[in-house]
């Protein structure tokens, strides 16, 4: 039995709701393969932390889990030593080093810092240009995916470029004062005290939500933005996921005028899932000063 890597990572980081956590535990207690798989995912997780490629929201969870105990620190130290030994081996063989991994992006910090800079017309012009560029890159990516012999390396580079451009586009939209952004992960429970907050300043016309998707294999999604008492205020059907700096995600834009100071939940379900399927939920809070 294969444990989905996304689920496994969230379990290891203590970020899985109780029902899924207990199901996963049953799975690895009963299936030898699942236990091996989970331990292998843990190796990858520790490596990702050491190489600086772990997503920014996951880093504090990782540090709380692994750097608080002696055994956890030993495992991280071991992974760092292994990475270093493998790099040294590569250098001895004369293979050039790979480009360093991009530093984890800090969207919200960026947004806050950049929003203070008024770029006006220049930003809007660049915004238009980048939109075209993003469209072109998306088309290129789709063409690459259609091509059976497209190499994985090329596809990876293209995805990275698309992610970078998407980031730049989002930054420019923020600079232009049009959009306030928030990156959300599925599964935050209401009332947990960790609900992400979006402060809408006067003049904000739109909010951009990046909803990080667990690995579930769907090509299209339906999303419904609701108040906590279940009133739907926005809906998007047949949304296609994009590859961003945060991995596979849904980017959605919602008119700011529809939102008031209160908590909201976005319910996301694969297009081909039954209407009764639970899907993924993303909770956030809106504040208007």
């Amino acid at each position: 039995m294969t444990v989905p890597a996304d689920l496994a990572v969230r379990y290891l980081l203590g970020d899985l709701p109780e029902a899924e956590r207990e199901a996963l535990e049953e799975c690895y207690f009963l299936e030898a393969d699942a236990f091996e798989e989970l331990k292998a995912v843990e190796d990858d997780l520790i490596d990702a932390y050491c190489r600086g490629t772990l997503a920014a929201p996951q880093r504090p969870l990782f540090e709380a889990r692994y750097l608080q105990s002696e055994s956890g620190r030993q495992r991280v130290e071991f992974a760092r030593a292994l990475t270093r030994a493998s790099v040294a081996s590569r250098e001895r063989r004369g293979v050039p080093a790979a480009a360093p991994a991009a530093a984890p992006r800090r969207w919200l910090a960026w947004a806050a810092a950049i929003a203070a800079v008024a770029l006006g017309g220049a930003a809007l012009w660049q915004l238009g240009r980048l939109r075209v560029e993003v469209l072109e890159v998306r088309q290129e990516k789709e063409a690459l995916q259609r091509s059976a012999d497209a190499s994985a390396a090329e596809l990876g580079q293209m995805r990275q470029r698309l992610g970078e451009l998407t980031d730049r586009l989002t930054r420019l939209r923020v600079q232009a004062g049009v959009v306030a952004t928030l990156v959300l992960s599925a599964g935050l429970e209401r009332g947990s005290g960790d609900v992400p907050r979006l402060v809408l300043k006067p003049g904000t016309e739109e909010i951009g939500l990046t909803l990080r998707l667990p690995v579930d294999g769907h090509d299209r999604y339906d999303a419904s933005l609701q108040t906590v008492d279940g009133r739907e205020v926005w809906r998007g059907n047949g949304l296609a996921p994009v590859t961003t700096a945060h991995g596979r995600a849904l980017d959605i834009g919602i008119p700011a005028a529809t939102l008031r100071t209160q908590s909201y939940v976005v319910l996301v379900r694969g297009r081909d899932e039954a209407a009764s399927a639970l899907g993924h939920s993303y909770v956030f809070e809106v504040r208007r000063p």
Binding site: T2, Y11, L12, G14, E25, E26, Y28, F29, L30, A32, F35, E36, E37, L38, K39, A40, D43, D47, R51, T53, E63, A64, R65, L67, Q68, S69, S71, R73, Q74, R75, V76, E77, F78, R80, A81, L82, T83, R84, A85, S86, V87, S89, R90, V95, A97, A98, A99, P100, A101, S151, A152, A153, G156, Q157, R159, Q160
Partner: protein, 207 residues
């Protein structure tokens, strides 16, 4: 009982007063004593990871407590079916974990504030050049057969997006799937980690 894979002596859980209880548990785990012992080790490995992954402070101790309880229940005549053993251990482990959290909460005092604050800040790791783990790892890698050592270093040398095609190529070269390669490397890595841990303990005790 000696374990063929780890060389450790298989023993009753620490602090368990009644060796016959442990023998009764082994009988539940299988009619063949050696296989029952292997199943015991496998359950123990899961328990230790379970407590570790759930953030328990003393996974080994809690695993022992879990074994103690199951042994006692079996010895008292609880009809544990062999097919249900793993699931039963998991259920008991969850209770043990909850009780340990309750115990921690009950013993929290005013000193906890400072303690929690100090724990909340991740402890800094030594810089790479200061890390004794690196020296130990080099020694442990040198002790591996050359082809195994090369496999480990090749597997872990890629970075970011390059790692995936590199590992795929490595799997193709070995004639196995990428997931099989991943599991194989995980096992090698576990052996290396054990070796490095032992080396670090020896180094520490020498100083």
């Amino acid at each position: 009982m000696a374990d063929a894979t780890t060389g450790r002596t298989r023993r009753a859980p620490r602090g368990h007063p009644d060796a016959p209880s442990f023998e009764a548990l082994l009988l539940v785990l299988g009619p063949d004593r050696e296989r029952a012992g292997q199943r015991y080790e496998s359950i123990r490995a899961r328990l230790v990871r379970f407590f570790t992954w759930r953030g328990a402070a003393a996974p080994e101790e809690l695993s022992d407590t879990t074994f103690d309880r199951v042994c006692r229940k079996v010895n008292e005549g609880f009809p544990l079916r062999p097919a249900d053993a793993e699931r039963y251990f998991l259920g008991v482990a969850r209770n043990v974990l909850r009780e340990s959290w309750d115990h921690d909460r009950r013993h929290a005092t005013a000193e906890l504030t400072d303690f929690t604050l100090s724990r909340a800040v991740p402890t800094a790791l030594p810089r790479d050049e200061d890390s004794p783990a690196l020296g130990c790892l080099e020694r442990c890698l040198d002790a591996l057969p050359p082809e195994t050592r090369d496999l480990v270093l090749l597997y872990y040398e890629g970075d970011g997006g390059l790692q995936i095609p590199q590992r795929r190529a490595l799997a193709e070269r070995l004639g196995i799937g990428t997931n099989a390669l991943r599991i194989r490397l995980h096992r090698l890595r576990s052996r290396l980690e054990d070796c490095v841990r032992g080396c670090l303990q020896r180094t520490g005790s020498d100083q």
